[in-house]
């Protein structure tokens, strides 16, 4: 068995012991919780997606496939594609910006590491909505950034930064960056320095050492980070609503409209939700399979 250098893969391929009776007893609360709050709602959502819309709200118990026809209607498909693009851009930027940070923290001295990790995690202690509204204060026409730039006479008129797709991307990257940094850090921390030294000794330049040795060894962390950013970013609806001025509707907003907006079309919302859930499961299964393949 190959030396496991990273935590994620150890968890996946490491101890394949089956829990004994005591183990299952300890797991029971979590299993019940998962059944009640994850499985049951998903089943309800699945059932609702095949029903018809009620007159006032709610559902009428008659089977129909029109909700799924609606999901793949070009009107809504364009929103799905837009969500995928935004989530993809966010993931890419988070990866590009987060990997160096995670690497530096992972290779830093013991006494700095905890401090740096705290710095990454402290924003979580504030409400996520407040942090998003803080960006409104920074980016608006009379906001902090514009005032600063005008003060130093770098611009003569305020820049229109708020209520643009760019503002949405900034907000998304800001929200999800820690979710990329922490898993990669966890991988980097378990890197054995000796492997990198060996690569350099054997004549690999720093770039090749990075791409051929470090990146593959930290790939479980990268995979986890990508999943932790891409999947939630697909479902986001608050950040883009606030920072995009309601102009950048994503699939989360459409689903919200079906329940809390004018549409009052619960079955359609359920169909959208079920489709997303199936999509996520496929992505997760694929990433998981690739990780297992690397473990062979």
């Amino acid at each position: 068995m190959r030396q496991e250098a990273t935590g994620f893969s150890a968890a996946v391929a490491g101890s394949r012991r089956v829990p004994g009776r005591a183990g299952w007893l300890l797991l029971l609360p979590l299993v019940l919780w998962a059944l009640a709050f994850v499985v049951a709602p998903a089943v309800i959502m699945l059932v609702y997606s095949f029903l018809e819309r009620g007159t006032l709200a709610g559902v009428v118990w008659s089977f129909t496939l029109q909700n799924y026809a609606g999901v793949f209607d070009p009107v809504y498909l364009q929103i799905v594609i837009r969500s995928i693009i935004y989530a993809g851009i966010t993931t890419a930027i988070c990866l590009a910006a987060g990997y160096p940070v995670a690497y530096l923290i992972g290779r830093a001295e013991e006494r700095w590491r905890n401090l740096l990790l705290m710095a990454v995690m402290v924003p979580f202690w504030t409400s996520f909505l407040i942090r998003t509204y803080a960006w409104v204060t920074i980016l608006k026409s009379e906001g902090l950034l514009n005032s600063l730039l005008m003060q130093f006479q770098l611009i003569s008129e305020p820049l229109q930064m708020l209520y643009t797709p760019g503002a949405v991307v900034i907000g998304l990257v800001y929200t999800f960056l820690p979710f990329m940094i922490l898993p990669i850090y966890s991988s980097v921390e378990k890197l054995e320095g000796s492997l990198i030294e060996a690569a350099l000794d054997l004549g690999a330049g720093p770039v090749r050492a990075f791409s051929r040795v470090i990146v593959p060894l930290t790939s479980p962390g990268i995979a986890a980070g990508v999943l932790l950013v891409f999947v939630p970013a697909l479902g986001i609806y608050a950040v883009n609503d606030i920072l995009g001025g309601g102009r950048v509707d994503m699939i989360g907003n459409i689903i919200e409209n079906q329940f809390k907006g004018n549409a009052r079309n619960w079955p359609f919302g359920a169909a959208l939700g079920t489709t997303l859930l199936v999509g996520f499961s496929v992505i997760y299964w694929y990433v998981n399979r690739r990780q297992r393949a690397l473990m062979v």
């Binding site: 819309r53 007159t55 006032l56 709200a57 709610g58 609606g70 209607d73 009107v75 809504y76 364009q78 929103i79 837009r82 608006k140 026409s141 009379e142 906001g143 305020p158 229109q160 708020l162 209520y163 797709p165 001025g245 309601g246 102009r247 950048v248 509707d249 459409i254 409209n257 079906q258 329940f259 809390k260 907006g261 004018n262 549409a263 009052r264 079309n265 619960w266 359609f268």
Partner: protein
């Protein structure tokens, strides 16, 4: 253990006081389910002080959210605060209890014009709480030309300077009215007719905001918009002389938010007491002070200051063309689809 007479006496005394106090403990409660930021805390506290009825105030941010929670049956509410088109739908589905007008002595304070509205002509199921309009706000410091209708608002020269409500039904009805169609004539043919209008209007919009459109106007990110009258009234109160409010000449939407008692209410008597309390002029005036919409209580209007009465957003002058929303039933899904489509095609 030696029996302690004083202890026994004390225990008996405690038990007795509990039994005697029991009727007082069985105080009534009122489960109020209303819009967030629409009922001042002072009004609720005043009611509890006068009647000893505890008010449990839960909030929602849209009629549909209220319907979802009400119809799920998860909790029972005694009072809800729907808009007029929701009242119409609820009455059709027999989800409201008829009001006992004998318990509402202050109902006479409601203005005559509110007694014959299509959603509840005899106020059999609902009592108007606040009325408002949706109209045009202009930052007159930045825009000097007159802006009197939807056509004036949605001009290419105002591109990127407009805020509108994030409400599919609202925007669709503006387009209908601007094209000379009836505000409530929401049919598939009419929706297709207004598609080009929406294609022209939506790319000009900078911000969609139903929660607090005044924020974008105050921030200077936009210069004009079509928003709730209450938001405009607050702007005018906060920065007098800088903002103007006009009702669109093509025709404007008037909404009436009402108090009503849902079918499963447990504290029907307390609900009637609360409604009658709200109908008192001194109480209704407190609501107007904090939320300067149009007060349907004519006696309460007499208690406002001249400045408040003169606020054009709260009390629009003249005789404008106003109409309420009717319940459009399943067309709501088509409206949402058209709006989603046009919004997506207009942005990036």
């Amino acid at each position: 253990m030696k029996r302690n007479p004083s202890l026994t006496l004390a225990l008996l005394g405690a038990l007795a006081s509990l039994v005697l106090a029991a009727p007082a403990l069985a105080d009534e409660e009122l489960n109020l389910f209303a819009w967030s930021e629409y009922i001042p805390q002072s009004v609720l506290d005043g009611f509890t002080k006068e009647t000893d009825i505890q008010v449990n105030y839960e909030t929602y941010a849209s009629n549909e959210e209220m319907l979802a929670k009400l119809l799920s049956g998860a909790a029972s509410y005694d009072l809800i605060q729907p808009s007029e088109y929701t009242i119409e739908a609820l009455v059709k589905e027999k989800q409201l209890l008829p009001l006992d007008h004998k318990k509402l002595s202050n109902l006479k304070n409601i203005g005559k014009e509110y007694w014959n509205q299509p959603h509840d002509p005899k106020l059999a199921y609902s009592v108007p709480y606040m009325q408002g309009t949706v109209g045009i706000v202009v930052n007159t410091a930045k825009i000097k030309e007159p802006v009197t209708g939807y056509g004036d608002v949605f001009q290419p020269k105002y591109k990127g300077r407009i805020v509108v409500l994030d409400d599919a039904l609202e925007i669709v009805t503006w387009a209908l009215v601007a094209n000379g169609l009836g505000q409530n004539d929401v049919t598939k043919t009419n929706l297709e007719k207004i598609r080009p209008t929406l294609a022209k209007w939506l790319p000009l919009v900078k911000v969609y905001d139903s929660d607090s459109p005044k924020t974008a106007l105050l921030n200077g990110d936009v210069d004009l918009g079509v928003v709730w009258s209450g938001e405009a009234a607050i702007l005018i109160n906060e920065q007098p002389g800088k903002f103007s409010y006009t009702l669109p000449k093509e025709g404007a939407h008037m909404f009436i938010d009402n108090l009503a008692i849902p079918k499963g209410a447990e504290n029907v008597d307390a609900a009637h007491q609360f409604i009658n309390y709200i109908l008192r002029p001194d109480v209704s005036m407190q609501i107007s002070k904090e939320f300067p919409y149009t007060n349907p209580n004519v006696e309460a209007r007499k208690l406002l200051t001249p400045a408040e009465r003169a606020n054009p957003a709260s009390y629009p002058p003249g005789n404008p063309k106003l109409s309420t929303f009717r319940d459009i039933g399943p067309m709501a899904a088509d409206v949402d689809k058209l709006f989603t489509d046009m919004k997506a095609k207009s942005g990036k």
